[in-house]
Amino acid sequence: MPVDPVLLLLDATAQALTLLLVASGLAVTFGLVGVINLAHGELLMAGAYTALALDRAGLGFWAGLALAPLFVGLLGLLLDLLVVRRLRERPLDTLLATWAAALVIRQTVVALFGPASHTIQPPIEGSVLVLGAPYPAYRLLVMALALLVTGLLTWLLFATRVGLMIRGTVADRTLAAASGLAVRRLDAAAFAFGAALAGLAGAATAPLLSIDPQMGLGYLLPAFLAVLVAPAGGPVGTAVGAALVGGGESLVSAFASPVVAQLAVLGGAAVLLRRVAGRRAGRER
């Protein structure tokens, strides 16, 4: 089968930008708060199921897209209050506890919606001509949303008071507290905000995926790899990481089976990650 290069490029861009949207919440909780939240995939799933539930309730997709960040943000706040902040000094236990929370969320979804998979219709049908190739309009919308969120994050982080407080806390937590900043409240707010972004991403990508209780891990690993291989912190670094992981997977899958593509990207990212991890460790020394 001949491959249309324009379509190939569009697909790779779409996948990279979708992953960017998915990873942006993680970039906040991991990159800024420093919490490795293994329940992040399940928060995304919760966003997707929120969209599904509201769509089924007849409220339509847009209501879901608007409410998912609120609902999942609250879920994140709860997770921070009950679990994450209690384990601040025990990072290994944070991993374990958020992994447990992931299991709890997943099984709650199974209990509420059953183990089967669901789909929802994209709210806008049809396609738009891009560089002469027809492309689904809703995918383009999701791509635009990813760019919007990245822009918003950049603005929040670099042009607002809260952003300055967060950057100060990231740079030196003790000094931030000793300067009068309420670091715990900042943590909670940033964690909840990261969760809200996960909810938004989950709802926005829901019409593009099959929605099932196991989908969380499918979100989590590529998103984590994207954040981890990011050459620099901040939203722009995340964008580069997402381009590497998401775009890479899309390009490989054009020439090989999806399973091979996933494995190749997971393996490739893992190798890249080793280098990045080594470099970061070297820098901290």
Binding site: I36, A97, W99, L103, L221, F224, G278
Partner: protein, 320 residues
């Protein structure tokens, strides 16, 4: 914990050894399988509790051992004879070799207990599971069935480990030997080295310890123990499938070890036996609620009993 107390271990093994006097056959058969899981739990307790290396893919090595046993037992390996005994050997050798390979990726990352390590173990687990499902050689998602049992060469003719009692006793001996060996290892100088690297890899490096080598050895030892458990499990179960190496089982073993006590292989083993027994009693009744209960259990244990339920107890006994 730097030392496994000997007395509770001996009491524990003695009580288990006396079980066949009154326990029904089905319970022994079940316990034999659970002791196979117990080996997996002990391997994780060593890696995580002693080495500080929390692995989200420990079942990968258990499953690799199980598959290695299955392939050799069914005579599916090129150039190698169809032999359960060889299978058991490979059940230890293959996971160890895999761990050496994976270790090059994982352990040599210079922040092994950081986020990179955790995510990499998850990635490994996913890769392993997907490969097993996609590989016709490994039987795909159906797995491999009809495995031959292990046989002990006794003077009066070989004794196949099929019936509950011999299976139970064999597993008891192996698990007991492994537990005591791990306890010795933990108390030995090499155990202190591992803990020194866990506490402060940089300082350990300054003291002339190679943290990468120490961690790699721990990773391989844990894989060998897990693989042995997997091989023995497959020998009794007669069947292997991708869930034996998947993230689901990897998560379960985290629960066992967290509940029992990460610091001590014995406590982790007890955790595995208890949780698996509880699953046998409650699992059917709770149905799909069982995984939910496991998740909540793990959450509560991490928050309230970081040493595990038995780990704290054993630590108190270990104190002079």
């Amino acid at each position: 914990m730097s030392r496994e107390p000997l007395l509770p271990a001996l009491v524990f093994w003695l009580v288990l050894a006396l079980l066949p006097l009154w326990a029904p056959g089905w319970l022994l058969g079940q316990l034999a399988q659970h002791l196979g899981y117990g080996l997996l739990a002990m391997s994780l307790a060593y890696l995580w509790g002693q080495g500080g290396l929390l692995s989200f893919c420990q079942a990968l090595f258990f499953g690799a051992g199980a598959y290695a046993y299955a392939l050799a037992g069914l005579g599916r390996l090129p150039l190698l004879p169809e032999s359960p005994a060889l299978g058991l050997l490979l059940a230890v050798a293959v996971p160890t070799a895999l761990a050496a390979l994976a270790g090059l990726l994982l352990v040599t990352a210079r922040v092994p207990t950081g986020p990179a390590w955790a995510v990499l173990t998850l990635v490994l687990g996913v890769i392993g599971e997907r490969l097993a499902v996609a590989s016709p050689f490994l039987g795909g998602s159906n797995g491999l069935a009809g495995l031959p049992p292990l046989a002990l060469p006794l003077p009066g003719g070989p004794l196949e480990l099929v019936d509950p009692l011999p299976s139970f006793l064999a597993l008891l001996l192996v698990a007991g030997a492994v537990q005591l060996a791990l306890a010795r290892k933990i108390a030995a100088p090499s155990g202190s080295l591992l803990r020194a690297v866990r506490e402060d890899p940089l300082r350990a490096a300054h003291l002339g310890i190679d943290p990468v080598a120490v961690r790699l050895r721990a990773f391989m030892l844990a894989a060998a123990v897990a693989g042995l458990g997997g091989g023995l499990f497959a020998a009794q179960f007669g069947f292997v499938a991708p869930p034996l190496l998947g993230l689901g089982l990897s998560t379960e073993v985290l629960v066992w070890v967290a509940v029992g006590g990460r610091g001590s292989p014995l406590a982790a083993l007890v955790g595995a036996l208890l949780v698996k027994t509880a699953e046998g009693l409650l699992g059917e009744w709770l149905g799909a609620g069982w995984p939910l209960a496991l998740g909540l259990l793990l959450l509560l244990v991490v928050l309230l009993f970081p040493q595990g339920v038995f780990g704290g107890l054993l630590a108190r006994l270990a104190r002079p």
